[in-house]
């Protein structure tokens, strides 16, 4: 995709205290492009996202945004105190005053019927959809999604990925996503960036999954840090290009529709 990237980072370094969490990160997201960040726990994914969003200030390096860039953000953690009387509708209105955008975002995220419910009383999946609706309500040019499918059931995950594809296709939205679900990543991403405090490797999913550093990182599947990957065994087969084994715990209806 030609033209100036939506957002571009050059030589980002960041640390908390003495330990360097991120070293010399270069990264850019173009309009209409879906980029996914993967990496083990503690690899600096969320820190990188915070640097790009301006929540943290990098110790070294620069973040350049296209002027006037509108960002929709879905954070990884979200909890509203029950003492705050806030309906889902009002929650969306914090992000935008355009009621048409809000209605469309609520419909796209599948939470049209939740409008008058208090945010503090939502289930995990509903909360996640409300966050996605809030990000969409801003009519963003760039969507930044930090583990957007957490708490969402399999059908919901497929819907979300379809929605992301549609936004990219119809509105040219650029997407930067942090994901733990390698399975979905590989099916629905233009470019994968494998992060472990530095960028281990980056490129098209097929290329990255064959990269030695990637295999070193995710092939070490016995490491407890990787235990959070569900269906780990199947994934490894996937990524090395083998046929996925049909285990009773990993039926094929959990796969996203092929693009």
């Amino acid at each position: 995709m030609p033209g100036e990237p939506l957002i571009a980072a050059h030589g980002l370094c960041h640390g908390f205290g003495r330990a360097e969490v991120l070293h010399d990160i270069d990264l850019a997201v173009e309009a209409g492009e879906i980029v996914t960040l993967i990496g083990p726990n503690g690899s600096g994914k969320s820190t990188l996202v915070r640097l790009l969003l301006g929540i943290l200030v990098p110790e070294r390096g620069t973040v350049r945004r296209r002027p006037g860039l509108v960002i929709g953000y879905v954070p990884q953690h979200f909890q509203v105190d029950p003492a705050l009387p806030l309906t889902v509708r009002r929650f969306l209105m914090l992000a935008s005053s355009n009621t048409r955008s809000i209605d469309r975002a609520a419909a796209d995220a599948g939470i049209g019927e939740l409008a008058q419910r208090p945010v503090a009383g939502l289930s995990g999946g509903e909360r996640q959809r409300a966050l996605i609706a809030r990000a969409l309500a801003r009519d963003p040019q760039l969507l930044v999604l930090d583990e957007p499918t957490q708490g969402i059931d399999v059908n919901g995950q497929i819907e979300l990925h379809d929605l992301v594809q549609r936004l990219r296709r119809e509105r040219g939205v650029g997407v930067l996503m942090v994901s733990h679900d390698l399975h979905l990543v590989m099916a629905a991403t233009d470019r994968v960036i494998c992060l472990n405090r530095h960028i281990c490797c980056a490129g098209r999913p097929e290329t990255v999954s064959a990269h030695p550093e990637f295999l070193a990182l995710f092939g070490a599947a016995a490491a407890p840090a990787l235990a959070i990957y569900r269906h780990r065994h199947d994934h490894r087969h996937d990524l090395t290009g083998d046929v996925v084994g049909h285990s009773p715990f990993h039926r094929h209806d959990s796969e996203p529709g092929a693009p």
């Binding site: 915070r50 969003l53 301006g54 929540i55 960002i71 953000y73 954070p75 979200f78 509203v80 105190d81 003492a83 705050l84 009387p85 806030l86 309906t87 009002r90 929650f91 914090l94 992000a95 419910r117 208090p118 945010v119 009383g121 809030r134 801003r138 930044v144």
Partner: protein, 264 residues
């Protein structure tokens, strides 16, 4: 005819209640009650320093509260100690310093109780102007920053990512807090200041369907508490500050039995 002193007390109380409504809501939503307590406990030291410096005690109180608030924000960023530990150190350190300072000032001793528990019935004309001015300042600061404050309460990082000026809003919140502490000390005293933030807000929660409704209802609950409290003080010859706080407690307890208007 209402006596002059009662009118002044009522107006001062209303100013405290009006500012305390939205401010108290933010304190409750953000779980900053202990933070409010720390600033309030520092108020006595502010009076001492104000008197020693020869400026108005309320100005001294406001200035010290603002300084403490900024100090706490800076200390919290360094994350060496847990927030509540830090607050406890500053809160009780300032209270102890204030009590010691007060005891060293000969003119002060008679007034100590008035500063600890308030003396709203003794509010003079000049005091009243201070209180109305500081109340208006607190409300103005909150009004200016309300949207980013609510958004920042819901999720601070999300608000920053969406381009809201959260740091500026938090600074205005601290300014409002400092102004409120300076005012409320006169009405209900150092030890009961936080009560005028938390009780009306908590009482308003069940009646509110939006943040703004809760802020408005909290102000209303505060005004009612002032009226009931002052009436009680006059009728039963009890201290006005604690009487107002007790009235707020009664309102809260009464409201607690009613159902939540925001249905899950």
């Amino acid at each position: 005819m209402i006596d002059d002193f009662l009118l002044r007390a009522g107006l001062a109380g209303f100013a405290v209640a009006m500012a305390g409504g939205p401010l108290g809501c933010l304190i409750v939503w953000r779980r900053m009650a202990y933070f409010g307590d720390a600033l309030a406990h520092g108020a006595l030291l502010g009076v001492v320093l104000g008197l020693a410096a020869g400026i108005d005690p309320q100005l001294g109180t406001g200035a010290l509260a603002l300084a403490m608030a900024l100090l706490l924000i800076l200390a919290r960023r360094r994350r060496r100690l847990a927030s509540d530990t830090l607050l406890g150190i500053l809160s009780h350190g300032a209270l102890a310093a204030g009590l010691v300072g007060a005891s060293l000032m000969a003119a002060f001793n008679a007034d100590l109780l008035a500063y600890l528990f308030g003396d709203i019935l003794a509010v003079g004309r000049a005091d009243l102007y201070w209180i109305l001015g500081a109340g208006a300042l607190a409300l103005g600061a909150l009004g200016l920053a309300w949207r980013p404050l609510v958004a920042g309460t819901v999720h601070e990082e999300l608000a920053i990512a969406e381009g809201l000026k959260v740091d500026r809003a938090n600074l205005l919140l601290m300014l409002a807090m400092a102004a409120f502490v300076a005012v409320a000390m006169k009405a209900v005293g150092v030890l009961l200041t936080t009560a005028m933030l938390i009780l009306p807000a908590a009482a308003a929660r069940r009646f509110a369907r939006s943040p703004e409704e809760m802020a408005g209802f909290a102000s209303l609950a505060g005004v009612l508490s002032v009226i009931l409290g002052l009436a009680g003080a006059v009728a039963f010859d009890i201290p006005a500050g604690p009487s107002i706080v007790l009235a707020a407690l009664v309102l809260f307890a009464a409201g607690s039995s009613l159902p939540d208007r925001l249905k899950s």
